[in-house]
Symmetry: C2
Subunit: 149 residues, 2 copies
């Protein structure tokens, strides 16, 4: 990703603007997160006092270029699965009110090279279904519930 | 995937029922398609006279278990990209009226093992955006436009 937060009216700049509109909470459920620009936007929200929670896939969080370590280092709460199947969602919920979802993994490759879609949905029924799924996963991936043997 | 078309009220059976409701057209834009059950549903529609068009990713269509060859063999029109980036969409449009999209690739692994989401959207504005993207891709991937050198 380019380093400055994007201006203009590209799909990426619209995505970043939607994220940066968060005032209270940002719930992220992301299979793969390697885009430094989007990580910077998330960190900015965290510094502003927005409550950021991030769920991700255990197998992908350690891959080269992953931003998960950097976000944890910044103090953002991250939880991940313990399964062999993928946590394959790729959605964000802003202020429990705006759902951003689609085919796009938050990776530089996807943003620069792929055909992708991102839907922005404010219909409460859809937002609630995803918010409920987020809360289920957040509880299920609570480290207090890990099994080690 | 299990072999019989699924009954009951699982997410997979609801997806199959939505697909089988097609009367005139089914437009498929799928990064990866290896689930034999979903391929069987698509073939059934083709045999019923529904116009099926399928766009897929060139790098994934040849992978082990891909259903693309079988669908082409059955007479279904398939087009694919010529790029190094992925054609990463995973959506279907039934009768130009119902959009089915989300994180789910149409693979056995995804259906059996992953956390995934599938949205069914009938709002005309959303359906049109995806139908327009489908038509753009369908034209762009027309074999008449391939460049070989």
């Amino acid at each position: 990703c380019p380093c400055p937060l994007p201006s203009g009216d590209t799909a990426l700049s619209r995505l970043v603007r939607r994220l940066l509109s968060a005032r209270r909470s940002l719930d992220l459920c992301l299979f793969s997160f390697s885009c430094p620009l989007l990580a910077r936007a998330v960190q900015l929200l965290h510094r502003r006092g927005v409550r950021v929670r991030l769920v991700t896939d255990a197998q992908y969080m350690g891959l080269h270029g992953s931003q998960i370590g950097r976000l944890r280092h910044a103090g953002i709460q991250v939880r991940h699965d313990q399964h062999s199947g993928y946590m394959h969602h790729k959605f964000a919920i802003v202020d429990r009110r705006i759902l951003i979802t689609g085919s796009l993994n938050w990776t530089t490759q996807a943003i620069q090279s792929n055909r992708e879609n991102v839907l922005v949905v404010e219909d409460a029924e859809y937002v609630k279904a995803f918010q409920d799924e987020f809360e289920r996963i957040w509880e299920e991936y609570n480290p207090a519930n890990y099994s080690f043997f």
